[in-house]
Amino acid sequence: MGFIQIIIYISIYIGLVAISFYILSYLSDAKKKRKFFKDSELPFITVIIPAYNEEESIARTIESITKSDYPKNKYEVLVVDDGSTDKTLQIAKKYESKFLKVFHKKNGGKASALNYGIKRCKGEFIFSMDADTFVNQKSMKQMIKYFKDPDVMSVTPAMLIHKPKSILQRVQHVEYLLGLFLRKTFAALNAVYITPGAFSAYRKTFFDKYGGYDVGNITEDLEMSIRIQYLGYKIENCPEAAVYTIAPSKFKPLLIQRRRWYYGLIKNLWKYKKVFGRKYGDLGTFVLPISLISIFFAVFVIIYLFIKTIFNVRSELLFLNSVNYNFSSILNINFYFIERALFLFFTNPTVLFILFFMVILGFYIRFAAQKVGKSSGLIINLPLFFLLFAILFGFWWVVSVIYLIFSRSIKWK
């Protein structure tokens, strides 16, 4: 057995133990009873929408939040235009009303826009919402109920992709669906370490006590969630609260987004490195170390595959040259060829493990369907995900690590 095979089997083994642990944790949590706010106890809340050059989506975002079934007299919306150079401000102004206020400030980044809104809000709880995000009518009410527990400082929703069309959006669609189960499991373990910037809820007193968003941090939402964990509070997850975001449809914007996320994750984990260890329960003992190990293996395998592919292409070219590029003689697919190929395929333990992982992912998808309803397009999106995600994930991480090593600066906008 070669070195790379050993590495692959170790990563598979760790993956199996992790999956077993997460499923056991989910099942154990399902038996627990939580306390929720009743409808009559719903508190006053504020939705802050920081916006920078979002003329294409801001109207729809505002409309989606104003259609919420949350009692109209119990929430306000603050749109903070962060020095947009397009028509974002003018469009937002059209929706100004008693409960929707529009502010304009000099461009200073998302964190500064959010802090601007936090200073001016009246709500006991704050929702941060991206200007290209749409929420279901019930989502806010479903999420806010979790704050009945005084230790809960943040609640995350079920993030989904809005109308995936391009190949990359379809891959992200499945990625987000699969994330629903893990996010719920992490919440069960009190180990959520990412609160989506697109839409998350926070207890206002946390900002009052520990300050607002970290201005200058490229992943201010991530910093906030790790800070909440670092300070020993809870982050809950409401998998029924569907929230839709517009995913990057092309390779370069998606790479830039992921590079920012992953770079920010490493930076913020380093900033709060004390969260690793027994003091932080399952988060520090298992969830974070396993996440980092998975990333390490993904990077390792993608580098290995890249180098191996180069050598394979080289040797294939040499071989083709040695047979005078006689393709018809090489591609002789007959019954024996297919039989042998199937044998090699199905007796490869790695293939069997991948099939097993696919079954588990099927279970995750089923969980997502139960919580947010069936997703259309899965017949196309799932194969695309299985084909492309691992390569993309490894590639994004390799690029992020390179940026980190060479300390290139990355900006939000």
Partner: protein, 214 residues
């Protein structure tokens, strides 16, 4: 601030046990499939050798015509298929696996039996089959070269209908292989003996082989 011990140490133990069990079951399943394939090659070898014996005895004892092309093609195809299965089993169970080595020895016997039968048919029926004896090695220093020659031979086989290729592992502990090596003066691999006349060492391209076939 809240205290946060791990929720359940027992759960970690269960996860470790379940994960390990799944890992072992899948490895066991993969190994079982390979073992079934091993049994299949064993049965196929017996069938092929039986068929060759039967055809040859038909001819030598009962003076029956051996020129039935259909029977010969079937045996040749089975033989080639066996070679592929053994090749795959080497990959799955290891080149040094005793069971695989035993099957390879048996395969060598059947190949030689078939080789002799081909020569007989060439003589008696003017079959016009060309033969290549391929001496390869799985030793680390020769493995790449041997595999490359094997790939070239695959292409040659597909381009030439009248060719039969017999492969022999020169490191197989077998008296027959040793005698073959002495007979054809094989000292290194990969070496080809084409039509029992021409010796070609480490061919680089198909021309190096095909020019000796005509």
């Amino acid at each position: 601030m809240i205290s946060r011990p791990v929720q359940s140490k027992k759960r970690y133990l269960w996860a470790f046990l379940i994960g390990s069990l799944i890992f072992l079951i899948i490895f066991g399943l993969s190994y079982s499939l390979s073992f079934l394939e091993f049994q299949r090659v064993s049965n196929l070898q017996i069938e092929t050798s039986f068929q060759i014996f039967e055809d040859k005895l038909d001819y030598s004892i009962f003076d029956q015509g051996v020129c039935s092309k259909e029977s010969f093609e079937k045996i040749s195809q089975d033989l080639r298929f066996q070679g592929r299965i053994i090749d795959d089993l080497e990959k799955k169970l290891g080149k040094q696996d005793k069971r695989v080595l035993l099957r390879k020895k048996f395969y060598t016997l059947i190949e030689l039996e078939h080789f002799e039968f081909t020569n007989l048919l060439n003589e008696q029926c003017n079959l016009g089959k060309k033969t290549i004896l391929f001496f390869y090695s799985n030793e680390k220093k020769d493995l790449d070269r041997s595999e490359q020659t094997g790939e070239l031979l695959n292409v040659i086989y597909k381009r030439n209908e009248n060719i039969i290729i017999y492969s022999f592992d020169i490191n197989l502990e077998s008296d027959l292989i040793e005698k073959l090596k002495i007979k054809h003066q094989i000292e290194e691999s990969p070496t080809l003996i084409i039509n029992e006349k021409t010796k070609v060492f480490n061919p680089k391209n198909i021309q190096d082989i095909e020019k000796h076939l005509n």
